[in-house]
C-alpha cells in the first residue's frame, strides 16, 4: 500500500513539534524533494537500526556523517525512543564509540514511508517482536500489550520490590499502577509518560511551553476539554490533534465527535501538563469564573457591594430617626438603644448557653470509629480534592507536604492543588523546587482583584477532579484518617448534607498566653457551639478549613464569594439557604494558633469584618431569608452572625461600667433605668461568667484540662477581640475586600536560633 502523503497543515504541526522540542524539522517524503527541509534517507545509515525497532519506535536513522548519527523521530517527547536510539547507537559495532546521536523531527507518515522503502512492508500482524527488540527481563505472565511493570523494570525505572508493593496497593485501592508509582515518587511523570505511550501504542507529547493552535482550540468547548481532559493542539484538513491524559474512551470520543468530523489523533501527555495548558490557555476565562461566577449567577449573594440600595435607604432612615431622637429626647433615645443592646446581649447569651450545654456530653458530631475506618474498602474511595491556598508561605511547605502525605488515603486518589498567587514567586519557586509527585498540582492564580483566599479557591475548584473537596491551610495538620471518615460519613448521611465540617484546634496552644486563649476559644466553638448548631439544623458558619464539600454541590452553589473575607461563614449560610445541610464530624485538624498579637489582631479583624459582610449580604432581603431558612434559624443567624456586633458594643459598655464605678456619674445611672439595669447587671455578672465558663467547658470537653485555668482569664481576650472588631468594622468602610494576611510559621523558632 502506498502511503498517503502528509497534509500541509499536518506538516506544520510537526514543524511546531520540532520547534517546541528545539530540534530540526525534516521532510523525508521523496515526493517533496524540493522542500527546503527535505532530507534524503541514507539506506546505510537506516540499516544501522533493526527495522522492528524503527517501526515500533517510529524513528529512522537518516544519515551518519562525521561521527554524527542523525535519527528522525515523529515524537520528540518520546524520551524512551530517544534513549533507545542512543542505546542502539552505542552498542552498534558499525558506529564509532565517539559518535553522537542527533535527533530531528519528521512527520510520522514520512517516517513510515522511509521505513517501508528501506525495510520493506511490515509482515502484517502489526505487532512487534518483543524478543528481538526490547525484552530482556523475565517477567512472569507477560502478555502483549506489555505490562507496565515489566516495562518499568526493563527500563530500570523501578525495582521489583517497588512494583510488587505498588501491585499490592493496586489490589487494595483499585488505583492504576502508574498512578500509584508516580504518587509514591517511584517514577516521575516525565519518566512514566513514554512508557505509558509505549504501552498504549500512542504518540507522546511534552506540552511544556507548548502553544496550541488557536484554530484547534476553537473546535471543542472548554468544559469538555476540562472534563475529558484533553487539549486540541493542532488541526489540519483531516485531523484534529489532541493532547490527552489517557486513552480516549468511547463516550469521550463520541462527545468530541459531536463538535468535529475530523479524524482524532491523540497524543499522550501528562494530566498535569494538560491542566497547566488549559489554565494557561483559558487564563482570562478561569480568572473571570473565579471572580465573577457568584456575582453573575447569584448577584444578591455576593459581597461585592457592601450594602445594597435597600440597606442604604434603611440605614439612612435609621440614622435620621436616631439623630432626631437624640435631639428631641436624647435620654430616652439612648435608653432605648441601651435597652435594645441589652436585650440582644441577653438573648445571645441564652442561645449560646443552650447550644453549648446541649452539646456537653452528647456526641452531636458524626462519630466514625477506628473500626469503621479499618473496615473501609479503599477500592470504593473516590478521588478527593484538597485545595491548599498559599500566600507567602514557602516556609511552611515542608510541613504541609508532610501533613498531606500523612493522610491515610490512597495518594493516587488525592487531587491536591497548591494555590499560589502569581505575584508570590517565592512560594511558586519553592513548590517547584520540591519536585512533588503529580497528585500535588501547582496552580498559579492570576494576579487580579480581589486578591483573596476565596478567589484562589474558586480558581482551584475549576479543575478539581474530586468527588469531594476540602480546603486545608498551609499549616494544617488534619487527623490522618479524616478524609476516610468523611467518605464514610457521607455514605451514611442524608442526601441534603453537602458539607461536613471537621473540628479545628491548635497544635501550638502551649506557645504563649494568646495561643492558649485562642485554643480555649476554638475548643468551645468547634467542640460545643458548632455541634450544637448542627444538631438543631441551624446554619453553621463554616470554619476556614477542613470543611469537606460535595464538589458538584459546591459548584452548584456558586462556590465561595471572592469578595467576602470570611467566605467560609458566608458559604455555610448560603448552603443552608438553598436547602442543604452541614454536619460536624468528630475529627480534628490542627492549625497554627496566632502567637503574635499584631498578627492575631489582623486575622481577627478580618474575621469580624467578614462576619459583618456576611450579615449584611444575607440581610439584604430579611423576609426572603426568613422564608428560606425558617424563623428559628433566622433568629439563630441574628444571634450568631449578628452577634458579631457585640464585640463592637463591648468597649462602650465596659467604659460606661468603669466610669460609673469610679465616678458614680449620674448620666450613666440615667442610661440604665431599673429593668435595663437588671438586664445589664445580668450581662455583666452572669453572662460574662457564662461565656468564660463556656471556654472552660470547651477545654474539658476536648480533654484539654491543662488549658481550663487560662480560660478563666478570657475577659482580657475579649478586650483584644473588641480592638480587632473595631479595626475590622472601620476597614469595612475603606477597604471592604482587603484580605488581612495572617503570617504563619510563627510557632517555630527563627532560623539560626538554637
Amino acid at each position: 500500500m502506498t502511503p498517503a502523503t502528509v497534509a500541509p497543515l499536518s506538516r506544520d504541526f510537526y514543524r511546531r513539534l520540532a520547534e517546541h522540542a528545539g530540534l530540526d524539522y525534516v521532510v523525508l517524503d521523496p515526493e517533496l524533494h524540493d522542500d527546503p527541509d527535505f532530507v534524503s534517507v541514507s539506506p546505510l545509515a537506516a540499516r544501522l537500526f533493526e527495522g522492528e525497532d524503527c517501526r515500533y519506535r517510529r524513528m529512522i536513522p537518516v544519515s551518519y556523517v562525521e561521527n554524527t548519527l542523525t535519527v528522525a523521530v515523529a515524537q520528540p517527547s518520546d524520551r524512551v525512543a530517544r534513549q533507545i536510539a542512543t542505546g542502539l547507537a552505542a552498542v552498534s559495532p558499525a558506529i564509532a564509540a565517539t559518535s553522537t546521536v542527533r535527533f530531528v523531527v519528521a512527520p510520522e507518515r514520512d517516517i513510515e514511508i522511509a521505513i517501508e522503502e528501506i525495510f520493506g512492508t511490515d509482515d502484517g500482524d502489526g505487532e512487534r517482536d518483543e524478543a528481538s527488540v526490547l525484552t530482556k527481563v523475565d517477567w512472569p505472565g507477560q502478555h502483549f500489550p506489555p505490562r507496565l511493570g515489566g516495562l518499568l523494570l526493563e527500563y530500570e525505572l523501578a525495582t521489583q520490590d517497588q512494583i510488587e508493593a505498588a501491585l499490592e496497593e493496586q489490589l487494595r485501592t483499585a488505583c492504576r499502577l502508574s498512578e500509584i508509582l508516580v504518587a509514591a515518587g517511584v517514577v516521575s511523570e516525565e519518566e512514566l509518560l513514554p512508557v505509558l505511550a509505549e504501552q498504549f501504542g500512542m504518540p507522546v507529547i511534552d506540552l511544556t511551553g507548548y502553544e496550541p493552535d488557536p484554530a484547534a482550540l476553537e473546535v471543542l468547548p472548554e468544559p469538555l476539554m476540562r472534563r475529558a481532559p484533553c487539549v486540541p493542539i493542532a488541526i489540519d484538513s483531516e485531523k484534529l490533534y489532541l493532547a490527552v491524559a489517557d486513552r480516549l474512551d468511547e463516550a469521550t470520543t463520541a462527545e468530541i465527535l459531536q463538535y468535529t468530523d475530523l479524524e482524532l489523533t491523540p497524543f499522550l501527555a501528562s494530566a498535569n501538563q494538560i491542566e497547566d495548558l488549559l489554565r494557561l490557555t483559558f487564563r482570562a476565562r478561569y480568572s473571570d469564573i473565579a471572580v465573577n461566577e457568584l456575582v453573575t449567577n447569584f448577584p444578591e449573594e455576593a459581597a461585592n457591594r457592601v450594602v445594597s440600595d435597600g440597606q442604604k435607604a434603611f440605614l439612612s432612615i435609621f440614622v435620621v430617626i436616631l439623630l432626631a431622637g437624640l435631639i428631641i429626647a436624647p435620654l430616652v433615645t439612648l435608653i432605648v438603644l441601651v435597652s435594645v443592646a441589652g436585650a440582644f446581649y441577653t438573648l445571645t447569651t441564652f442561645y449560646k448557653f443552650k447550644l453549648t450545654y446541649d452539646s456537653l456530653g452528647y456526641g452531636y458530631e458524626i462519630a466514625i470509629s477506628d473500626e469503621m475506618v479499618a473496615a473501609l474498602d479503599e477500592r470504593d474511595l473516590p478521588v478527593f480534592t484538597v485545595l491548599v491556598p498559599l500566600y507567602r508561605e514557602a516556609a511552611v511547605l515542608g510541613a504541609l507536604v508532610e501533613g498531606i502525605h500523612s493522610l491515610d488515603y490512597p495518594q493516587a486518589k488525592l487531587d491536591i492543588r497548591l494555590l499560589c498567587e502569581e505575584d508570590d514567586e517565592e512560594t511558586v519557586e519553592a513548590v517547584r523546587a520540591l519536585h512533588l509527585p503529580p497528585q500535588f498540582k501547582l496552580v498559579v492564580v492570576p494576579d487580579a482583584q480581589p486578591k483573596t483566599k476565596p478567589k484562589a479557591c474558586n480558581y482551584g475548584l475549576i479543575q478539581a477532579r474530586g468527588e469531594y473537596l476540602v480546603i486545608f491551610d498551609a499549616e494544617d495538620r488534619p487527623d490522618p484518617d479524616q478524609l476516610k471518615k468523611v467518605v464514610i460519613a457521607y455514605g451514611n448521611a442524608e442526601a441534603s448534607v453537602v458539607c461536613i465540617q471537621a473540628k479545628l484546634n491548635y497544635f501550638n496552644a502551649e506557645q504563649n498566653l494568646l495561643t492558649r486563649w485562642f485554643c480555649t476559644e476554638y475548643s468551645m466553638w468547634f467542640d460545643l457551639l458548632l455541634p450544637g448548631l448542627a444538631h438543631t439544623n441551624a446554619p453553621i458558619p463554616l470554619g476556614g478549613t477542613s470543611c469537606h464539600f460535595v464538589t458538584a454541590s459546591l459548584i452548584e452553589l456558586g462556590a465561595w464569594d471572592p469578595y467576602n473575607v470570611t467566605e467560609d461563614a458566608d458559604l455555610g449560610i448560603r448552603l443552608h439557604k438553598y436547602g442543604f445541610q452541614t454536619a460536624m464530624i468528630d475529627s480534628t485538624t490542627f492549625e497554627e494558633a496566632n502567637s503574635d498579637l499584631n498578627n492575631w489582631i489582623r486575622q481577627r479583624s478580618r474575621w469580624i469584618k467578614g462576619y459583618i459582610q456576611t450579615w449584611l449580604v444575607h440581610m439584604r432581603h430579611p423576609g426572603q431569608l426568613m422564608r428560606q431558612i425558617g424563623v428559628r434559624n433566622f433568629i439563630s443567624f441574628q444571634l450568631l452572625i449578628g452577634g458579631t456586633f457585640i464585640f463592637l458594643l463591648n468597649p462602650i459598655f465596659w467604659a460606661l461600667t468603669t466610669l460609673f464605678f469610679f465616678t458614680q456619674a449620674n448620666f450613666v445611672r440615667d442610661l440604665f433605668p431599673s429593668f435595663v439595669f437588671y438586664a445589664a447587671a445580668f450581662q455583666l455578672f452572669l453572662a460574662n461568667f457564662l461565656f468564660m465558663y463556656f471556654s472552660v467547658a470547651g477545654c474539658i470537653q476536648r480533654g484539654y484540662f491543662g488549658l481550663a485555668k487560662y480560660a478563666l482569664f478570657s475577659p482580657i481576650y475579649w478586650g483584644l477581640m473588641s480592638v480587632a472588631a473595631w479595626k475590622g468594622f472601620l476597614q469595612l468602610f475603606f477597604r471592604p475586600f482587603y484580605w488581612e494576611k495572617t503570617v504563619h510559621g510563627l510557632d517555630r523558632p527563627p532560623e539560626g536560633s538554637s
Partner: protein, 584 residues
C-alpha cells in the same frame, strides 16, 4: 528525576497528644442498669410535687397565717427590686445570701402574687418540685427501679419538715433543690465521667453557697475530695487541675463577686460572714446563750439528727464502709458531707455561743444527703440491695414521726410548731404563739399597711427602717410611699433620720423589737415625751406611725431628746442590717 517521597504516618489511633481521656473515678464507666426516668415522667413528678406543696403551703401560709418572717423579708426585698421608686437591685441586701431573695424576683414581678403572699408557697413549691425530681433521678442513677424508689422518694417528700419548708417561702427549699441537682450531677459525673455533669455540679454548688454561706465549706470539701479521688486513680496533674477549675470556678466566681459587691457597696468585704443573718429563730433567746459545752452541743446534734434525718445514722456509716471496703470515693463524699454539715452546725453554735443556732431546719441538707448516701449504699451492696432498701424505707418512715414530734417540741425552730398545729387542727394560727417566742400571723402588718395606704399621699413620705418594717411595706403594695434605706443609701437615710422635718411626713417604727434604727435614734418615741413635735397617728401591737411636722418646732429640744446611735451596719450598707424583729 525522582520526586519527593515521604514516610507515611500509621493510620488509626489517636492523633492529639495533648488530649487527656477523662479518668473514671469508679472502677470503670458504669452504665446504670436502670434507665433514668423519661422527660414526661420527670415532668409529672415535678408537677405533682409542686401542686401538693403549693396547695399545702398556700393553705398554711395564706389561710392559716403561719408566715415565717425571714421569708417575708426576702419577698419584700424582691418586691422592692421591682417596685421601689426608683427600683434598685441593692434592695436584695448584702448580708443575706442573695439567692434567697433573687429566687422571688420572677413572682414578685406580679404584684398580687407578692402582696397576697402567694409567691411564698409557690416559689418554694417550685423548688421543692425540683428537689423531688432530682432525688428521683439520683435514685435511678443508683440503679433503684421505679417501684423501689417511689416509696423512698415519698418517705422524703412527705416528711413534715420537707412539707413545711416546701410551702413557707424559706430558703431551705431553694438550697435543697440546688443540693439535689449538685448531688445528682456529682453521682452522674462519677458514673459516666461526662464533663457536663461536672459543670452542673459546679454550677449547683456555686448557687448553693449563695443560699447559705455554710455551703462554702461543702464546696471546698467536695473540691478537695474530687482532686483526691482523681489523684488516687492516677489522673494526670492537668486533669486534676482542670477538673477542679471546672468544678470550682463558678463557686469561686460567685464568692469573689459577692466580696466585691460588699467591698464596693458596704465597705466591708467579709461583713456578710460575720453578720447574724437569721431573724426568725429563737427570737426570745430562750436557753440559747452562754458557753456551750462540747457534750451539750453533741447531744443537741444527736437530737436534731434523730429528729430530722435518722436515716443518717445508718446511711453515713454504710457509705463510709463502702469507701473503706471498696475504695469507692462517692461513699466517702456523701458520708463526709453529712458529717461536715453536722460539724458546721456545732462549730457555728459553739463559736457564736448560741445554742439557738442548732435548729431543726439546719439539718435538712443532711437529710437529703443521707437519702442519697443510702441509695449509693443500695447501688454498691450487690447482694444486699433489698435489705438496704428496706432499712432505708423503714428509717424514713420512722423519720416522719420523729420529725413531727420534734416540730412540736424542739426548742429552736422557725414556727414549725405552728405549722404542725395548723395541720393538725385546721385552724387559723393568727395571733397564736409558737415555740421560740413567735407571735404567729401578720395582722399588725396588715393593719398598719391599710392605714398607711389610706393616710399617706405622695412618694417617699414615710421614713422607715425597711429591715424592720418590711411586712408593712409589702402588704401596702406601695413601696414608693416609703423613704427606706435602699432608695438613696444609708448615708442619706441617716441624714433624713436626723432631720426629717420637711423631708418626710411620717416615721414608721417597729417598736416590738430592738433593732429598729428609728427607734434607736428616737428612743423616746414610744413614751410620752416625744421629740420635736412628733406625734403618733397610728399604733398597733408592733408598729408606730409617727407624724412629722413640716418644721422642727423645738430644734434644741430635738437635739436634746435624740441620740445618735451607732448604726447596726455601716452607713453605706442599704438595707443590710441584721434585722431583729423581736417578739411578735
Amino acid at each position: 528525576m525522582a520526586t519527593t517521597t515521604l514516610p507515611r504516618r500509621p493510620p488509626g489511633g489517636r492523633f492529639d497528644p495533648r488530649r487527656i481521656e477523662a479518668t473514671h473515678l469508679g472502677a470503670a464507666v458504669h452504665e446504670p442498669a436502670v434507665r433514668p426516668p423519661g422527660r414526661w415522667i420527670s415532668l409529672g413528678i415535678f408537677a405533682i410535687a409542686v401542686v401538693v406543696y403549693a396547695v399545702v403551703g398556700y393553705h398554711v401560709t395564706v389561710d392559716q397565717h403561719v408566715v415565717v418572717f425571714d421569708a417575708l423579708d426576702r419577698l419584700t426585698r424582691a418586691y422592692q427590686v421591682w417596685y421601689n421608686d426608683p427600683p434598685k437591685l441593692a434592695a436584695i441586701g448584702f448580708s443575706f445570701p442573695p439567692l434567697t431573695t433573687l429566687v422571688f424576683l420572677p413572682l414578685a414581678l406580679i404584684k398580687p402574687l407578692a402582696t397576697g403572699l402567694v409567691a411564698l408557697p409557690l416559689t418554694t413549691a417550685l423548688f421543692s418540685g425540683l428537689t423531688i425530681l432530682f432525688l428521683d433521678r439520683t435514685l435511678a442513677r443508683c440503679e433503684m427501679p421505679a417501684f423501689l424508689r417511689i416509696p423512698i422518694v415519698l418517705g422524703f417528700a412527705l416528711n413534715p419538715m420537707t412539707v413545711f419548708y416546701s410551702g413557707n417561702g424559706m430558703s431551705e427549699a431553694v438550697y435543697l433543690a440546688l443540693l439535689s441537682i449538685t448531688l445528682y450531677s456529682a453521682v452522674s459525673w462519677y458514673e459516666t465521667t461526662q464533663p457536663r455533669f461536672l459543670f452542673a455540679a459546679g454550677f449547683g454548688v456555686s448557687l448553693l453557697l449563695l443560699t447559705r454561706y455554710g455551703f462554702i465549706l461543702w464546696a471546698a470539701l467536695l473540691m478537695v475530695l474530687i482532686g483526691a479521688a482523681l489523684l488516687r486513680r492516677n489522673a494526670q496533674r492537668e486533669e486534676v487541675e482542670g477538673s477542679i477549675v471546672a468544678f470550682a470556678a463558678p463557686a469561686v466566681y460567685a464568692l469573689v463577686l459577692w466580696i466585691l459587691f460588699n467591698t464596693l457597696i458596704v465597705g466591708d468585704p467579709f461583713g456578710w460572714l460575720t453578720t447574724n443573718t437569721s431573724q426568725a429563730v429563737n427570737v426570745t433567746g430562750m436557753a440559747s446563750g452562754g458557753n456551750l459545752g462540747f457534750l451539750h452541743i453533741l447531744s443537741r446534734l444527736v437530737q436534731v439528727t434523730l429528729a430530722v434525718f435518722p436515716l443518717g445514722i445508718i446511711a453515713v456509716p454504710a457509705a463510709l464502709a463502702i469507701f473503706v471496703m471498696r475504695r469507692d470515693a462517692m461513699g466517702l463524699w456523701l458520708g463526709a458531707l453529712v458529717i461536715l454539715g453536722l460539724a458546721i452546725m456545732g462549730i457555728h453554735a459553739a463559736t457564736a455561743h448560741r445554742e439557738g443556732l442548732l435548729t431543726l431546719r439546719d439539718a435538712m441538707p443532711m437529710a437529703l444527703t443521707s437519702v442519697v448516701a443510702a441509695a449509693w449504699f443500695y447501688r454498691s451492696a450487690n447482694g444486699l440491695r433489698l435489705l438496704a432498701w428496706g432499712a432505708t424505707l423503714v428509717v424514713l418512715m420512722i423519720g416522719l414521726f420523729t420529725a413531727y414530734g420534734a416540730m412540736k417540741a424542739y426548742p429552736f425552730q422557725s414556727q414549725e410548731q405552728a405549722f404542725v398545729r395548723a395541720i393538725r387542727t385546721g385552724h387559723d394560727q393568727e395571733g397564736t404563739n409558737s415555740i421560740g417566742g413567735f407571735k404567729v400571723g401578720i395582722r399588725n402588718e396588715a393593719q398598719m399597711a391599710r392605714y398607711i395606704n389610706q393616710a399617706v399621699k405622695g412618694r417617699h413620705q414615710v421614713l422607715t427602717d425597711n429591715a424592720q418594717t418590711f411586712g408593712v411595706i409589702l402588704l401596702s403594695g406601695r413601696p414608693r410611699l416609703f423613704f427606706d434605706r435602699i432608695i438613696r443609701g444609708d448615708g442619706i437615710w441617716q441624714e433624713v433620720l436626723a432631720k426629717p422635718y420637711g423631708v418626710v411626713s411620717y416615721l414608721l417604727v417597729n417598736y416590738a423589737g430592738s433593732g429598729d434604727l428609728i427607734r434607736a435614734h428616737y428612743p423616746s418615741l414610744t413614751g410620752n415625751r416625744r421629740p420635736g413635735g412628733l406625734s403618733v397617728v397610728f399604733r398597733d401591737d408592733r408598729y408606730l406611725l409617727v407624724k412629722v411636722p413640716a418644721k422642727n418646732p423645738t430644734p434644741a429640744a430635738g437635739r436634746a431628746t435624740t441620740r445618735r446611735t451607732s448604726p447596726v451596719v455601716p452607713p453605706s450598707a442599704p438595707g443590710s442590717s441584721a434585722p431583729k424583729v423581736g417578739a411578735q
